[in-house]
Symmetry: C2
Subunit: 358 residues, 2 copies
DNA sequence: CTGTTAGCGCCTTCAC
DNA sequence: GTGAAGGCGCTAACAG
């Protein structure tokens, strides 16, 4: 670990450390053109690599950005991470990654670790949970964040926040149109002829899931439909799969199969929708012939899935970039601005033709 | 940015910084039980968070692990990243992420940045390129790595390395059975009755792609088949898609459609295979009825894809963990050990039934 | 068991 | 333009 130091370089070049420092990272004072060369070649000869830790300490600024996600292997988060990473590099920062499995306590640890490393900003992505069992951990997370902010750190959260955080003005939040897009998605589905709905949601209390459910319900209510059965399952492919299996069973037991083709299942995210479809297919229920399925997010890796998934698109990568910009203060925290999404009607729901025929 | 310091805590507690340090992170010397409490409450009161930068400097060890991947949004890398992250956390380390778009020069920058931050280990994933245009950048990457190693850093590469690096004994490499698994995959495909093959590969010179192609060819040659057409396209979904389109055209122009069902396309990774299938379908070629398709990697997000993809499974997450362990020296660098993969025959290739019928 | 003294490697006034 | 101090926050010998 005996990396060479600035002092060594300076000595080899026959100058003071101060001068060496000035040429090796361009300060205001411009060193002599010929001296500079000497220093540079000395540095090169010794294979000198500035110690960023020491630099950070000295100038008290680390160039580090912390990213907290539930699961980096999940396409939602990994796409977001790409946006974060790209933007960060553009701004000359490095990103520290923490994948927390979604537990608030691990998130707290991650924030604490980032704070210890004096990250300049922390991006927290992934849905909050308002479940009773998480209250305590949430509080602790909140106070960890608060402490971090109090000492000059800035944090941006992607999407919904939770009560304890709601009153923290230091925390920027990148608003994600979960409610609105779910609402629009429902409206689109109604427009193409669906008259009956089921919702496959995550556990109650998971904010993102709840907002999407609420938005969807809102649109239905507006159309006079009040009865969308909601299945609460794990917020994952597995959860969707199980929901798919049991819905298939229900559908097949149904005395009146008259509803065939007019019922649609809304899974609150694409990965769950995948599971739902897999479960349905496993039981012989066809999509979209027997029942339609819609997701949320528009995950790119699933683009070629058949039937292609009707979903609400979110600009994941852009969101990552914006979150960093927000935290860094590169863009203003305009309370009105929100990420913009788009409803994508595709093959997993009945086609427009069917609509016209209906 | 005025985080409180150890000195402040010490003062408030009425002890020396040394003592404060001892209680706040448990050194060998165990401070007095009652003094400890004073320090702890002082720290708590001030919201003290140790400055990891300063700690690293003082004890010259950072607890940082650098991960460089081509594209963190690609499921191959994000799954690997999960493994890296999990293992790292278990070992009490943090991971620094760099997503480089696969260009050697950006990889070099990433390694340099990690070296500057004094990361204890660097994991480099993603295929090398031996193309002429990359030679220079490769060399620079190699020397960057060399320098890093010379000063005590340890690096692990996942999968194939490249010439300039081959002679660097300091670099551990996690051997990935690209050749062998491609070979086994081909054998399995032959066994279920395919007699004619096409390969959709990445650009020539991309080591991973080349190895997979070579392994596949090897098995074919052993069975007396020497003519597998190889399409060279981009190493991505888009590349696969274009290959799919043109293969579809060729297949349809083919005077003798007798081969229907006995030809199989091997795409060198799952994401490309997705693209291939999409291209084929777009032109009305059915999979696996008209032609079989196989991929490589067994990406989890694509598990529910229909037809389910025949592929060679790689334990991506485990690989990430092993790479870290290897770099950290937690496991020996056994030149014989290799990651173990499995051929997964699934719906995108003809079923065994068809085989028996043939 | 606790306090003192030196640095870790670098940056940054401040004089020259 | 260049060098000489002092300090960033913490740890690690040393003494007591």
């Amino acid at each position: 670990m005996a990396a060479s130091t600035l002092a060594q370089v300076a000595q080899l070049a026959g100058v003071s450390p101060a001068t060496a420092s000035r040429v090796l990272n361009g300060s205001a004072r411009i060193p002599g053109p010929e001296v500079a060369e000497r220093v540079r070649s000395a540095a090169n000869e010794l294979g000198y690599v500035a110690n960023a830790q020491a630099q950070s300490l000295a100038r008290s600024s680390t160039g580090l950005i912390g990213l907290v996600v539930h699961d980096i292997a999940d396409p939602y988060f990994s796409t977001l991470a790409r946006g974060v990473q790209d933007y960060a590099r553009g701004a000359g920062k490095m990103v520290l990654l923490a994948s927390t499995n979604g537990t608030p306590s691990e998130e707290r640890e991650a924030v604490a670790a980032f704070a210890a490393r004096r990250a300049e900003a922390i991006i927290i992505a992934g849905s909050r949970s308002t479940q009773a069992q998480d209250q305590q951990a949430n509080k602790e997370l909140a106070s960890e964040i608060q402490r971090y902010c109090r000492f000059g750190g800035s944090v941006a959260m992607v999407g919904a926040t939770f009560p304890s955080l709601a009153e923290m003005p230091e925390v920027r939040v990148l608003k994600v149109p979960n409610f609105d897009q779910a609402r629009e998605l429902a409206q689109s589905l109604l427009r193409i002829g669906y008259t009956s709905f089921r919702i496959v949601a995550g556990p109650q209390g998971l904010v993102t899931s709840d907002h999407r459910v609420a938005g969807f319900h809102d649109a239905l209510a507006q159309s006079g439909i009040s009865s969308a059965r909601v299945s609460r399952v794990e917020f994952s492919r597995e959860g969707g799969y199980e929901a798919g299996l049991s819905i298939a069973a229900e559908l097949q037991d149904q005395p009146s199969p008259s509803a065939t083709g007019t019922e649609c299942i809304f899974a609150v995210n694409d990965v769950m929708a995948m599971g739902v479809i897999a479960g349905l297919l496993e039981r012989g229920v066809r999509v979209p012939d027997d029942v339609g399925v819609a997701g949320f997010d528009d995950v790119e890796t699933l683009r070629d899935f058949r039937p292609s998934l009707t979903t609400a698109q979110l600009p994941l990568e852009l969101m990552g970039a914006q979150a960093v910009a927000l935290a860094l203060g590169s863009i203003e925290d305009d309370p009105l601005r929100s990420v913009v999404g788009h409803v994508m009607l595709r093959g997993s729901t009945r086609s427009s033709e069917t609509e016209q025929a209906t």
